[in-house]
Symmetry: C2
């Protein structure tokens, strides 16, 4: 139909302008009316796919057709993470300045794998990471050692590879992890990414040693010390402790002030995962989230959770970037260049698993400039205030028990009924559409999680969510169960 | 100065509209006038950083200030990958429909780690990957086994982890790679990512066996068979062959029709890296790039290189997704959900290293619908035509030699002078600013690479680039060297 030499139908610049304005308006409309939508989708597996053609179009079509299918097919199939009454998981909040910077980054379309493949891409990133050392009050030994990773999963993987390289004096890079007897210490509450990193690096899950926790779920430093001693006695090699400042399940904080000295004593790498909570340290009164980080060999936190920077944007710092580069660098001829060989530049490709990298620092720069440090503090404080507000509402209802005081932006609670009642309750809450919560378990007991921090969330959304929880109780839980049975208190015992 | 309870200065929806239009127009202006800029930056290390404040702003400022600093500080520090006379590396081309979809994805801000965290995010991705099986004529055993990765580096890593899991019958997941004697076969031309994957997985570089290549740089299947035999005789375990369809350095193609049967005979996992070239199979006459892929256990190609989909977007298929999931899944309570437990859905978090994931399938959907299959073919054909045009110009100048016929979108060539002359020539070309080329080496001899495929590149840009090369010869290479000395021919001998 079309001749073989037809010019590709690239979008001309004026069309890009006009469709781009439409796309911007589409997002603004989406955000503006998001509160009117159910938060969670009610779709069966396969429903979305069934509405898509089985083969791609042979000829192009106009962009508005995509926008219309987004509306018709995609939106009903999404869980709306930016919804003001989304209180599930942890937030993955976007913001105007972040989204616009993501757009600009896509338009620039540069690669930051080497310094010389776009110097500004590397240098803005270095500066932003140093800005965050200042903003979060991180130890000075992290200055110059920061890099953006996609997620905290990649951060712990990169940290573990570096720890292996250092502990083996470079041997693992050539000879593999072998029957080395390396040990990685964590707790039942440590993010699954740490176990996954043990699998990926070839250590295997048997290298993972689960340290005991106290009643709050925090790592027991005495047990850690004992396990390290026992492993040493057994001829094993303590390699890394993965400590968490703010666990995913219920925000327990491993005591770095106690763990750090144990690590120091045995030369064990201390990686600190503060993916969710670390950014809260922008506020003076929340600096405690990073207490003891001065002992860390590596540390990560995610602006893409609570700090208004759309996914992906995890910040990783290592105290010894040279070890990181040595652990991960493999250098082909086509990437050699005088700048790298001068030793005067940073080539971030050696700091990560992938080779290519986007200009993600632009998002941080844009967010920091739009909000300023004070604006970020104000956003974090709003999230904390919303959590306290919700916790107060829970506390006033004697059918419910709080599992812990609401610190930061997470409330953990459960209904007085059985686990099954609580599961049914969660299902009923989410199916109704007003709000969306998630769950977790502690000592085998099911509980509900309410996580604040949404960009567009205001006080009335918290109240609306609580009313939705109360309404769901009427429908989901047998009346006989509408009184506290003490199970939740027992959890904290 | 501001009260503690101040509301965060979120960007209101109308401001987002107006600033968003500005950002769109900024990109359109950037693309429109890109040809007037030097392609490569002339900055010394540290120049960009030196222009940024040493600490973040305490209070927010208006967005146009960022746009103005982008113009003033960042643009002079970028290598402009979207420039119509950018012919370096391989392209990483963006396009209007892809950038708009990236924007929409950022605005939606959903997470696709599990099916239930946004069903449409997973299902659109599954459909797009199946569309690409059709588009590229991939074997049917890849249908339903596709996933988007960030890069081909992550793709080969995930494939290697799956191969390890399968070969060890699940043992490595728990017990690590140990002193297992696994062997990974590749050539000197295989992308460095494969060696990096061997390091990351704990096999170490000693597990890597470099197979001989023929004069064109393609893997010698007979040598592969001999090495596998020798390894077996030595008690080692052949694990994976990483074969490349279109190497980064100079587009050699490993003969899958010969390699495949060797792999089959010994139960060795065959991973095919077609990062750059694979997408060319959208054109019937270029289907040969994927010849022999029916033998592959895993295969990847990157729409984010030549196929108008801005980075990152690598497509990976595995023939046995169950093995992949078993290799990588680690399941915490807070991510358990009825949909996953029903076995009726795909949770892509098990298909990758990170946990979180963006809605990248939206970019593919947008690109496919805007261009249609015919539009994509036309773009690939334009790139091939530009390479042939440039090769013709090189061929007509007896100071230069082509290293290979221009297949696809890469021309490899060198000046008749010494390696130093060629290095100086490349430096002179790139310093002048009209165009940007990169280099590589073959058998220790330096050569220049000219890679087409830019979204905005037209015939006249190719002519302008060639004139820039010719002009640079006058300045960079001593007159005595201006005649062929046969070195380049020797390379092909």
């Amino acid at each position: 139909m079309k001749p073989a030499e037809a010019k590709p139908p690239h979008m001309d610049h004026d069309t890009f302008r006009s469709l781009g304005h439409q796309a911007i308006d589409w997002i603004a409309d989406y955000w503006q009316h998001l509160a009117d939508r159910p938060v969670a989708p009610l779709v069966e597996p396969g429903t979305v796919r069934a509405q898509l053609p089985t083969t791609p179009p042979e000829y192009g079509e106009d962009f508005p057709a995509l926008l219309s299918d987004l509306e018709r097919i995609v939106l009903p199939g999404l869980l709306h993470w930016q919804h003001p009454r989304f209180f599930g998981y942890f937030p993955a909040n976007a913001s105007g300045p972040a989204v616009l910077a993501e757009l600009l980054s896509a338009g620039l379309g540069v690669q930051g794998m080497n310094w010389n493949t776009s110097p500004a891409c590397t240098e803005v990133e270095q500066q932003m990471l140093d800005w965050f050392v200042h903003l979060l009050g991180l130890p000075e030994h992290f200055r110059g050692g920061g890099v953006i990773q996609d997620t905290a999963s990649s951060a712990v993987l990169v940290a573990l590879l570096t720890a292996l390289h250092r502990a083996s004096a470079g041997r693992t890079r050539d000879h593999g992890t072998g029957e080395c007897g390396y040990r990685v210490y964590l707790t039942a509450e440590t993010h699954s990414a740490a176990r996954k990193a043990a699998v990926i690096t070839g250590l295997g899950l048997r290298a993972v040693c689960e340290v005991a926790t106290d009643a709050d779920g925090a790592m027991d430093a005495a047990d850690l010390a004992a396990r390290i001693q026992a492993d040493l006695a057994a001829g094993l090699t303590p390699l890394m402790v993965v400590a968490t400042r703010g666990t995913t399940s219920d925000l327990s904080f491993d005591p770095l002030e106690d763990i750090g000295p144990v690590c120091r004593r045995h030369g064990v790498w201390l990686h600190v995962d503060a993916a969710y909570a670390g950014v809260a340290a922008v506020c003076d009164e929340l600096h405690w989230v990073n207490d003891g980080v001065r002992y860390a060999d590596s540390y990560c936190t995610n602006p893409h959770k609570w700090l208004l920077t759309n996914f992906d944007c995890d910040l990783l710092w290592v105290a010894d970037p040279e070890a990181l580069v040595n652990a991960l660098s493999v250098l082909p001829a086509y990437l050699r260049n005088p700048a790298s060989e001068s030793g005067r530049v940073t080539d971030y490709r050696h700091w990560q698993v992938p080779l290519g990298r986007r200009f993600r620092a632009l998002k941080l720069w844009s967010v920091l400039r739009w909000y300023g440090a004070e604006g970020l503090r104000s956003h974090i404080r709003t999230g904390v205030r919303h959590a306290r507000l919700f916790a107060d509402l829970v506390r006033e209802d004697d059918r419910f028990t709080l599992l812990a005081p609401a610190t930061l932006g997470l409330v953990t609670f459960r209904h007085a009924g059985s686990d099954t009642d609580n599961r049914n309750l969660l299902h009923a809450i989410n199916a109704e559409g007003t709000t969306f919560l998630t769950h977790s378990e502690k000592n085998g007991t099911f509980f509900l999680r309410f996580a604040t921090g949404g960009t567009h969330t205001e006080d009335h959304h918290v109240h609306e969510a609580w009313r939705a929880v109360q309404n769901a109780v009427q429908n989901a839980v047998p009346r006989a169960q509408h009184a506290t049975d003490g199970t939740a208190d027992a959890l904290n015992g």
